[in-house]
């Protein structure tokens, strides 16, 4: 009986580990018309965090800049990573490899504003992607 319990526990753990997802939340931002669309690819993250404000401006050199406010919906601390990618008018990503995931710690029910500056004058839209820190641990 004990063996069966142990085996079912191990099986559950293996299944849970197998279900580990790298999906996150994406916010697509259009600097031309000021629009933003949020895609939720991770149910847990959707329930824990939301995008509460988006503003656009330009840096003195003329490049687009975006400020996005993220708000925690839970009491506990969230360990996340975010990446802001930039796209040209044809929708192609500019210098994709050069854009990094940055760590972001959201305290319980707190808000944090993340900022991204376009990496090229032709960048007209951007995409913020947020994922849980554990998603970065994904090992094949």
């Amino acid at each position: 009986m004990k063996t069966i319990s142990f085996m079912s526990l191990a099986l559950s753990a293996a299944l849970l580990a197998g279900c580990h997802t790298t999906a996150g939340t994406s916010v697509v931002l259009n600097h031309d018309n000021g629009g933003s669309v949020v895609y939720e690819g991770n149910t847990r993250l959707h329930n824990e965090m939301s995008v509460t404000a988006v503003t656009y401006d330009k840096v003195p050199a003329g490049l687009n800049r975006v400020n996005i406010q993220l708000t925690s919906l839970v009491q506990r601390e969230l360990h996340l990573q975010y990446r802001i990618a930039w796209f040209n008018a044809e929708g192609m990503e500019i210098d994709g490899d050069a854009r990094t995931y940055r760590p972001l710690t959201l305290q319980g029910l707190d808000s944090v504003t993340v900022t991204g500056v376009a990496n090229h004058p032709s960048a007209v839209t951007s995409r913020l992607r947020v994922r849980e820190m554990r998603a970065a641990d994904h090992v094949h």
């Binding site: 003195p60 050199a61 990446r83 050069a98 760590p103 991204g116 500056v117 820190m133 970065a136 094949h140």
Partner: protein
């Protein structure tokens, strides 16, 4: 028969086991992954470079100092004042790459000046190059500013916990005035917890 079977089977099992043990599982990893150690890792360098380049691009002071023109910069490799072995030139090279690709900055490179002279000498003396097309010394652009910085660290031990604090500082100095026209910092703090056993 039995006497032969055991050694043969044993050696086959041994071969299979050692064969499996020596073949490492290799896969291409994502560039930005979770930290594996409390030392400076590639993802820390990448995010430092990105932050510094974004900060420099966003700064109004740099454009003011050059009257709105694309400034010509050079690089002085960053100083490593930490206990780590880090290729500091590689960091400034990466910042330079980002800035050049933004099309807002121009760069000269003193570190390849020797090669420049050697190529010009060859063009002038070997007789292979059309003398009218040969590049002559004395026409290169002059750096108006240079980019440099430093890395420092602080390590604190408390029981099983080791706290590592790193700070990258970069500055942009105007050669003509001697003023620092831009500076920024990237702080990284990592905690390593030693296992009980």
């Amino acid at each position: 028969m039995k006497a032969m079977f055991l050694p043969v089977a044993g050696s086959m099992v041994l071969m299979v086991v050692t064969g499996c043990a020596t073949a490492p599982h290799v896969y291409e990893s994502e560039l930005d992954r979770a930290p594996m150690t409390s030392r400076i890792e590639p993802q820390d360098i990448r995010r430092t470079v990105e932050k510094m380049a974004e900060s420099l691009i966003s700064d109004a002071g740099v454009l003011e100092a050059t009257g709105g023109k694309r400034p010509i910069l050079d690089i002085e490799p960053m100083q490593n004042r930490s206990q780590l072995i880090v290729d500091m030139k590689s960091i400034t090279d990466s910042v330079r790459t980002r800035l050049i690709r933004s099309r807002l900055f121009r760069f000269v490179d003193r570190s390849t000046a020797g090669a420049d002279i050697a190529i010009m000498d060859e063009q002038a003396q070997l007789g292979l190059t059309d003398p009218r097309k040969a590049v002559k010394p004395g026409r290169q652009s002059a750096a108006e500013m240079y980019l440099t910085g430093s890395l420092t660290d602080m390590v604190t031990h408390a029981g099983r916990v080791t706290d590592h604090y790193y700070k990258f500082t970069m500055i942009l100095k105007d050669l003509r005035t001697g003023e620092i026209v831009w500076t920024d910092e990237q702080e990284i703090r990592k905690v390593a917890l030693r296992p009980m056993l």
